[in-house]
């Protein structure tokens, strides 16, 4: 990967990685730190990374750093900044989206990451497995259970649309 390709990666994938991490951590500055760390690592290892695989490499690093961050902090505090960001970013017009977001945060970190990688980035099970270090069967099981949990949440009586 050349310098130009790396900087192109910044343009192409920085928002995606940031969105993925922010949705998991719900903390603006922490998410930025993780993204910056991921790109730092990509820059250091640019000689070993092919440009075609740079996106999944970025997500892999970001995911691992996010897990490390969660393990270190053990608790995630919904910061005011993120609330404002979420509020300003997308004016949740529909209850479905709000309920779905609530349901998302009831999932485990692993399940939430899998759902986000699938829904946000459209990765296949195999690719998600490579990013998260799971095999394809595990990804499938975790993802399906997570999806059904979301389903149960949105069809529950208190959240009936």
């Amino acid at each position: 990967m050349t310098e130009r390709e790396y900087n192109e990666c910044v343009n192409l994938y920085a928002d995606n990685v940031y969105r993925f991490i922010l949705k998991n951590l719900r903390h603006n500055e922490d998410a930025k730190d993780v993204v910056q760390g991921a790109f730092e690592k990509l820059w250091i290892n640019r000689a070993k990374v092919e440009n075609e695989r740079s996106k999944s490499y970025l997500f892999t690093i970001a995911y691992n750093q996010m897990i490390d961050h969660i393990r270190k902090n053990k608790r995630i505090v919904l910061s005011e900044g993120f609330s404002e960001n979420a509020k300003g970013s997308g004016e949740q017009k529909h209850d479905t989206k709000r309920i779905l977001n609530e349901a998302l945060y009831k999932l485990s970190e692993k399940q939430r990451s899998l759902v986000l990688l699938k829904d946000y980035e459209g990765y296949s099970y195999e690719e998600i497995g490579q990013i998260t270090g799971l095999n394809e069967s595990q990804v499938k099981v975790y993802l399906h259970r997570a999806r059904l949990q979301l389903r149960e949440y949105i069809v529950s009586p208190e959240n009936v649309i």
């Binding site: 920085a14 970013s89 479905t96 389903r151």
Partner: protein, 399 residues
């Protein structure tokens, strides 16, 4: 087992009964051995209590019961329909399975409903959330690091050393030619210069004044010799020949006064005395370079009675110089910077030098080559150079 067999061979008695009792409590004895222990206890009633105590140490867990086990019961949480729909939603189905699911969704209402619900669980990325500080992430590669080989260092050191050596050599040559307080000029050179002067000068009256290259020198020394009138301040185009070449002129510009006197008895072209002297008086800092000195000013004149013209000068003190003019017939005036000597033998004078080591006056071949190269460079580039060394368009000042 080995231990048990060993015990088995031994008969139980009052000395080894404890080991048999422990094995009995742990249910590690065979039925026959257990029977043996029980018989032994009946035969020894006092040990019956001890066996009972050991039996009470056995922990019994029968009272711990998990009453409600409902929460442990599991059921298949994902039906085949749901799994197919989820795989279909995730795009993980083969083409054949995909067609099957699509046809099922058309025909089966329950499947359609389930599909609609599952569709709602699909998250949509919020595109308004962006990483604003991308400038933090941009990187630029540094320049390539080129290894500096040892032989390149060596070559650079050689070139530098050669340059320094050349510079020092040239500087020394220039110093020898123009520097110092005492300079000797060979007689024959002066003779040719005087010949030139005679051809130009007025034959009736030769006014040999000293052309001083220093502008601020206001006082010009004059010397009258054999009825020669010397007019101070008048510029003489004849007698003022600079010694050697342009380099030497430059070098002597800052040097103390150099006074040269020459005699040429073989030139009786006219009846007038010849101004056999040549002056190079170039000390810029000397405000009074050439003061006229009258003959009666004897404190600066010392007569030695020889034919040699010896000029000794101390530029720092600007003193008058000891002058030998013993054989001069008409030497009446002496200047501090000029000495007149006449009737001297040419061969004798040519062999004379003024306090300058002969070896120092010699030029090296390399110095000559460099000077030639410098002149060629000056002509071609039309660049005026100072006293420094000019290398590749750069001039290094020597002072």
């Amino acid at each position: 087992m080995f231990l048990i067999r060993a015990i088995k061979k031994m008969n139980i008695n009052r000395h080894n009964y404890e080991e048999f009792f422990l094995l009995y409590v742990d249910n590690e004895l065979s039925a026959a051995d257990r029977k043996t222990v029980e018989v032994f206890v009946q035969e020894n009633q006092d040990l019956q209590m001890e066996l009972a105590l050991l039996q009470q140490t056995v922990v019994n867990a029968d009272d711990i019961v998990l009453h409600k086990k409902d929460w442990l019961y599991m059921e298949e949480d994902i039906s085949a329909l749901q799994e197919n729909l989820l795989l279909y939603a995730d795009g993980e189905l083969s083409a054949a399975d995909k067609n099957t699911v699509e046809s099922l969704l058309i025909t089966n209402a329950a499947a359609k409903t389930e599909w609609n619900i599952l569709q709602q669980t699909k998250l949509q990325p919020d595109m308004a959330v962006i990483f604003e500080d991308k400038a933090l992430l941009y990187r630029k590669e540094g320049g390539k690091v080129v290894g500096f080989k040892w032989w390149r260092v060596a070559a650079a050191a050689v070139l530098l050393g050669f340059g320094l050596w050349t510079g020092v050599t040239v500087y020394k040559n220039n110093s020898q030619k123009g520097g110092g307080s005492e300079v000797t000029v060979k007689e024959n050179k002066i003779k040719t210069q005087q010949e030139k002067a005679e051809t130009v000068a007025d034959p009736k009256q030769i006014i040999p004044t000293v052309e001083n290259t220093v502008a601020e020198n206001s006082s010009v020394s004059t010397n009258q010799q054999t009825n020669t009138q010397i007019q101070p301040g008048e510029k003489n185009r004849i007698a003022a020949e600079k010694i050697n070449n342009a380099d030497n002129q430059n070098s002597t510009a800052s040097n103390p006064t150099i006074t040269q006197q020459n005699s040429n008895p073989k030139k009786p072209d006219n009846n007038l005395p010849k101004p056999y002297f040549e002056n190079i008086n170039n000390e810029s800092s000397n405000k009074n370079v050439a003061n006229s000195v009258q003959s009666e000013n004897n404190n600066s004149v010392r007569v030695s009675g020889s034919n040699d013209a010896v000029i000794k000068m101390n530029p720092k003190e600007n003193k008058a110089i000891a002058i030998d003019a013993g054989n001069s017939k008409t030497n009446t005036n002496l200047t501090a910077m000029q000495v007149v000597n006449t009737n001297t033998d040419e061969g004798d004078i040519n062999s004379r030098y003024l306090n300058v080591d002969d070896s120092k006056g010699k030029r090296s071949a390399l110095g000559g080559f460099i000077r030639k190269a410098k002149r060629v460079l000056e002509r071609t580039t039309n660049v005026k150079t100072g006293e420094g060394i000019k290398i590749a368009g750069f001039e290094i000042a020597l002072k």
